[in-house]
Point group: none
Chain length 262, copies 2
């Protein structure tokens, strides 16, 4: 028996909007500690990891570990039927192969329930090692989204270079080249407007903008994004979900030979 009640239902709506472009089918894993998902994107290049900790729910009951396979587009269709201030409850009874999403309007006048069949999905649950990163950049998520969108109108890939002074995003395409430098800046009115760089050593890596632009669909989840970089390691683009967990996106850097012969 599973019953998870989330008062801020809009959070779940945003989570699904942020990952459904990348992942079509995935298993949602429920345990006593939380609600999580890990899945490769359909072209097996990027990886999404979602965690919503049990403490973030108003009620969290999960009697035994459960892996529920769902088509994320269908989940998204159902969640779009929830109002932004609805309370969302996810239910699954033992011995059934369905999940129910229940939406309660704030004044309890409207109660909706949506039932969906679960699917069997093979998933290799990859252990993601905690790595030490050469550089970690924290910046406003809207600014990162704007940069990725802007650069993708010039080129297909971005070189992200971090030094102590700042982070540089560079691209090149048929029509020309572009460089956007964001300087470290801790002296701002609000901490979420800061750009902060924690650097062990300078690093410069190349990524496909197409995937980064998908990642930025998570921008509504957090004012801030954290980008963790190391040579030879996948970049981690993390959006924290207040009081509950995170959505993390992983993407392997392009190696230089690939850049020359795309």
């Amino acid at each position: 028996m599973l019953e998870l009640r989330l008062v801020q239902g809009s959070l779940l709506k945003k989570v699904l909007e942020s990952i459904k472009e990348l992942v079509t089918d995935a298993n949602f894993d429920c345990s006593a500690t939380g609600f999580s998902l890990q899945a490769m994107d359909s072209s097996h290049v990027a990886l999404v990891a979602l965690l919503l900790r049990a403490e973030g729910f108003e009620h969290y009951r999960c009697d035994r570990n459960l892996s529920m396979g769902m088509n994320l587009n269908n989940v998204s269709k159902m969640l779009r039927c929830a109002g932004n201030d609805d309370i969302i409850t996810i239910k699954a009874d033992d011995g059934t192969d369905t999940v129910t999403f229940m939406f309660e309007s704030p004044n309890q006048d409207k109660i909706a329930d949506f039932e969906m069949k679960l699917m069997d999905i093979d998933s290799e649950h990859l252990g993601i090692p905690d790595a030490e990163y050469q550089a970690i950049v924290r910046m406003p998520s809207a600014e990162f989204a704007r940069i990725c969108k802007d650069l993708s109108s010039i080129g297909d890939t971005v070189i992200i270079s971090v030094t102590k002074e700042g982070v540089k995003f560079s691209t090149a395409g048929d029509i020309g080249t572009a460089n956007i430098v964001c300087r470290q800046n801790k002296t701002v009115d609000k901490p979420e407007q800061a750009t902060i760089i924690e650097m062990q050593e300078p690093v410069s890596l190349t990524f496909a903008l197409r995937y980064l632009n998908s990642f930025t669909k998570a921008t509504p989840l957090s004012e801030t994004v954290t980008i963790s970089l190391s040579s030879e390691l996948p970049v981690v683009v993390e959006y924290k979900i207040a009081e509950m967990g995170y959505v993390r996106f992983y993407l392997a850097p392009k190696i230089e030979d690939e850049e020359m012969n795309p």
Copy 2:
């Protein structure tokens, strides 16, 4: 000679936006008592009835009954040229086959007139008997519109079931099922937010969501919608037009055999 002056011209704009998706050509009937229209939708499944009473106009002159055939898309194109706070005058001289729409800006700085050829349209004017309905639901029009839109992302038809406690909208589709229950609620801040059920006996009927979604184009006309249901009778979805009349949509329920073999 016909001359109708309507200070709140935006009303007429909204009326046309609400019915033009459903009906392409129709006769506008003018008599001493008011301005009305009755037409089937192009697939002959739904019926639209409009009434604007003479008292709602600032000037209303109609010397003899007149039936003016128009293409509603063309009328809508002209009315889109009127500002939302323009005063609209509809004119037709005897012995001509044209109608003139005149738009005056509030400060009288701009006066526009648009003349349109009338068309001959066969129309069987159906007498719509005043029926007793088993259940009449009054609810906020925006809420009804939201429900119809949400459910149509899951299924094609909706079962509307009314009991004393509330009204339930249910659908089923490939990805799952959905039920939305609205409880009767008279204790709200504003009367137009109430959901009120007048029920003689419980009723449950099935309708095509496609048509209901067209009906909800009339939502801007009224904060409130009234849904009148009886077994074997077409549902009536009514949007009252303040001080003037109404737009009513009629749609026959699907019978169960049709549900099974669509």
